[in-house]
């Protein structure tokens, strides 16, 4: 078997048909949006390369977090608290910055906080044997409160926000966001192709009972997914804080979990677990993001953008499913 044949087999042919179809669909969708932006940029004599370069820091946090979430959703679980975790991590970053800690320390603490809370989620689920969606729903509120308490306790005279001064706290995002995203995506795809753990996640999402009968430990597998998800969430948090001049513990990352889950759903990950792909998630996250600048260029009224975004999600999934159903019907009729 040739090397490329092996890769094709271990990556592409392994995916369920519906996920493969969704990936093709999203590649086309992303290409259309990028083409549109390129065309509009050319018209207005803006540089397309600049436009794309600007995207990276903006799109990286949500795609990174979405990649981490893919593993969790594949297990048939979900982490609803990612937005609040982002809030806590950002607050830690802001507090340390206010206390004069250098950029390296701030970034490290931010990463560790996000990773730690994600791991804590996984541990709690394993300990309490409560569905992940419930534990993390509680986390959604709890961690937001934690961010506020942290800000209040750790910094004297805390207003509503931390202002981040100093280039060193913003540069990493601008310079490396694209590369970090790329590296993380390669890592995720590599894992999907060559590691055993992601297959365990899929197996768990397929059937928990069957996992148990095969002598596997479902709780441990899910915990693993939260640990890996934590790494991606940590990277996401680090890149997200570099985007902000000010950090508001009450608002940082609010609603983030929805775009993270939307990227997954759009990318063909089954919300009930058992199928999904990092490639689909990345493409889905990109699509969601590209809608923003595309609408900006198309001159869509600001008030309409969120609604259009929602409609676009429904349209992509609706058309894809309708096509899938028709194809399935044809197969059955044959």
């Amino acid at each position: 078997m040739s090397a490329s044949g092996g890769l094709l087999r271990s990556f592409w042919l392994r995916l369920p048909k519906s996920v493969r179809r969704r990936i093709v669909f999203l590649v086309a969708g992303d290409a259309v949006l990028l083409g549109f932006i390129w065309w509009k940029a050319a018209q207005s004599r803006a540089s397309f390369a600049d436009e794309v370069g600007r995207m990276a820091p903006n799109v990286a946090p949500s795609i990174l977090a979405a990649l981490g979430q893919t593993g969790i959703i594949c297990c048939g679980a979900m982490d609803l608290s990612v937005g609040s975790i982002l809030g806590v991590a950002g607050t830690v970053f802001g507090v340390l910055h206010a206390r004069g800690v250098g950029p390296g320390g701030c970034f490290a603490a931010c990463f560790v906080t996000a990773f730690g809370l994600s791991a804590y989620n996984g541990w709690l689920i394993r300990l309490l044997r409560i569905p992940a969606i419930i534990v993390t729903l509680a986390g959604l509120a709890f961690y937001r409160g934690l961010a506020l308490i942290l800000a209040e306790v750790a910094s004297h005279g805390f207003g509503q926000q931390f202002t981040l001064t100093g280039d060193a706290y913003h540069r990493p995002g601008e310079l490396y966001a694209g590369w970090i995203l790329l590296a993380a995506l390669v890592l995720a795809l590599w894992g999907e192709c060559f590691a055993k753990t992601p297959r365990m996640w899929l197996a768990l999402g397929n059937s928990e009972a069957a996992c148990r009968l095969s002598g596997l430990e479902p709780a441990r597998i899910l915990f693993g997914a939260f640990l890996v998800g934590g790494i991606f969430l940590g990277l996401s948090a680090v890149l997200d804080v570099t985007n902000h001049i000010t950090i508001e513990p009450a608002r940082l990352g609010a609603g983030f979990e929805l775009s993270v889950i939307a990227a997954n759903v759009l990318g063909g990950t089954s919300i009930f677990g058992g199928q999904g792909s990092a490639a689909g998630t990345a493409l889905g996250g990109l699509f969601l993001y590209l809608l923003g600048p595309a609408m900006l260029y198309a001159g869509v009224d600001e008030y309409w953008r969120t609604a259009v975004q929602g409609a676009a999600i429904l349209a992509v999934i609706g058309i894809d499913c309708a096509l899938g159903r028709r194809r399935k019907l044809m197969e059955e009729l044959r």
Partner: protein, 515 residues
């Protein structure tokens, strides 16, 4: 006799105070196929759960090769060499064949840490070949047929050095040639010294395949026989066993009205084929058969939940082609499903709402439910159907199983339907409620409804029905009338073993239906 591979002594298990298995002593020899038979609820699946480590016994010991083992998880059971292959649900549809086969084990790795896929697939392929099947290991399991899935799972169990293989109803979704293949696999495994516990309702298969047969009834082991030394009639007698003196109501007179439900050669690929039957007004027709024979599927097709590909259906003499379940309600066809918890009720809702939802369209004016009228109708229904509840607002979930079932009946029967299809109406219901439900069904027939009555409870179906149709492998094969209607004959017919000539020779069973 050599030392047994597995020796169970005094094994017992109860769930919520109800004994599911009591004091079972059983041995399985190396290289033997032991058949395990019994009616629904006899304790077969509990025994399987104990052996495969899903549940732990309350009392008794399991000896494996002479040593006492504690099987507290499926993992330990697997490690001890006991593998249960249950339904096809227990595999991973979105993983490749090789991944399914090797899931609980170490996978071959490359020096840099990645999974060595070619090696993994080669190993999986080797296992399949060794077992004697050729299935492409890269295929997704969801693309496989039921038989292929099963072969993969058995091959996996064998490759893990299973010494005892437990098969639960393995042929439920297999075609005849596939059954032959499975049997040849199993016989070969027996020669290799694997012990097999073969659980099935299909007595023909049990007689063909097994070396010995163990009979469970009401949680107790009734007997173990060499297969050659017992015949079907005696085996069935042991399975049914009970001195069935329960009296079934029979209020209705012999008068039958015109046929209200008629089916002519209806088919749905993969579910049932060429089914013809008629149910007349005032008649209770029992529909018997094994799980998977297509009874519920047929019922749902009549109700309009599955399309019918060929054949004709008539309700009340008029052509019947339901597109939605609403059509069925309008035409007076009611289907009361088997799994009341999943398909029947919103368990947290109050009883009142649970009942009135069945006829809420008759209660509304301009889209608003008239509370007083609802209250009155529900009160009436609760009395008529003898539902025991503390208040109308009591959540359905807190009612006993029998009262839930009666409430479900009340919901639909208040509509005064003409054709009533009952799917296992007394499953999981206590004896007293059972008798009341029987009474209700009898009254319904007396009021001129046509009733199609699906049940796996042999005593009940024999006692309640005017005629019994027995389904086997997707079609109605046998019709039993009058003195032919005995539990024995129903079991034999459900396995395709019934023949009228043979039946004529034997004396009627002890439980002739009361007339």
């Amino acid at each position: 006799m050599p030392d047994p591979l597995i020796q169970l002594s005094g094994l017992a298990k109860s769930f919520a105070g109800v004994a599911a298995l009591r004091d079972v002593d059983l041995t399985v020899q190396v290289g033997e196929i032991l058949g395990l038979v019994g009616e629904n609820g006899a304790g077969k699946s509990t025994l399987i759960k104990l052996l495969s480590g899903v549940e732990s016994p309350d009392a008794g010991t399991i000896r494996l090769g002479g040593r006492v083992v504690a099987l507290t998880s499926p993992r330990e059971a697997l490690a001890a060499g006991i593998a249960a292959v249950q339904q096809e649900l227990d595999c991973f549809p979105h993983l490749a064949v090789a991944e399914n086969l090797m899931l609980g084990e170490r996978w071959p790795r490359r020096p840099w840490g990645g999974v060595d896929w070619p090696a993994l697939h080669a190993e999986a392929g080797r296992r399949l070949t060794q077992f004697g099947v050729a299935i492409e290991t890269h295929r997704m399991v969801e693309e496989l047929t039921a038989a292929e899935k099963q072969e993969v799972m058995i091959a996996g169990a064998v490759a893990r050095r299973a010494r005892l293989l437990i098969l639960d109803e393995p042929t439920a979704s297999l075609s005849e040639p596939e059954v032959r293949r499975l049997f040849s696999h199993l016989r070969r495994l027996r020669e290799q010294g694997v012990a097999i516990l073969y659980v099935s309702h299909r007595l023909d298969e049990i007689f063909e395949l097994t070396d010995r047969i163990a009979v469970l009834r009401d949680g107790a082991l009734i007997g173990v026989h060499r297969t050659g030394e017992i015949d079907a009639v005696r085996l069935v007698h042991e399975m049914v066993g009970r001195p069935l003196e329960q009296v079934y109501p029979h209020a209705r007179g012999g008068h039958l009205g015109p046929p209200l439900l008629e089916l002519e050669g209806i088919s749905h690929r993969g579910l049932f084929h060429d089914v013809s039957l008629a149910v007349r007004a005032g008649e209770i027709v029992g529909l018997a058969g094994l799980v998977g024979a297509g009874r519920s599927e047929l019922a749902r097709a009549i109700y309009g939940l599955y399309g019918v590909e060929r054949g004709m259906m008539r309700v009340d003499g008029k052509n019947w082609r339901p597109a939605r379940s609403r059509d069925a309600l309008r035409a007076g066809v009611v289907y009361i499903p088997e799994e009341r918890k999943r398909q029947g009720f919103v368990l947290d809702h109050p009883l009142e709402a649970g009942i009135s939802i069945g006829f809420s369209d008759q209660l509304t004016r301009w889209g608003m439910i008239r509370g007083r009228r609802e209250w009155a109708r529900v009160r009436e229904a609760i009395e008529r159907y003898a539902i025991r509840a503390t208040a109308l607002s009591q959540p359905v979930a807190t009612l006993s199983g029998g009262n839930q079932q009666k409430a479900l009946l009340a919901r639909w029967l208040e509509r005064e339907p003409r054709v009533v299809i009952l799917d296992e109406p007394t499953r999981g219901v206590d004896v007293a409620a059972k008798a009341q439900i029987h009474g209700l069904i009898d009254q319904l027939a007396a009021r001129g409804k046509a009733i199609l009555f699906i049940s796996s409870d042999l005593g009940e179906i024999v006692g309640m029905s005017d005629r019994i149709l027995v389904m086997n492998r997707g079609t109605v094969e046998t019709e039993l009338r009058g003195p032919e209607m005995t539990s024995h004959n129903v079991i034999l017919a459900a396995s395709g073993l019934y023949s009228r000539e043979a039946a004529r020779g034997t004396e009627p069973g002890p439980e002739l239906r009361p007339s």
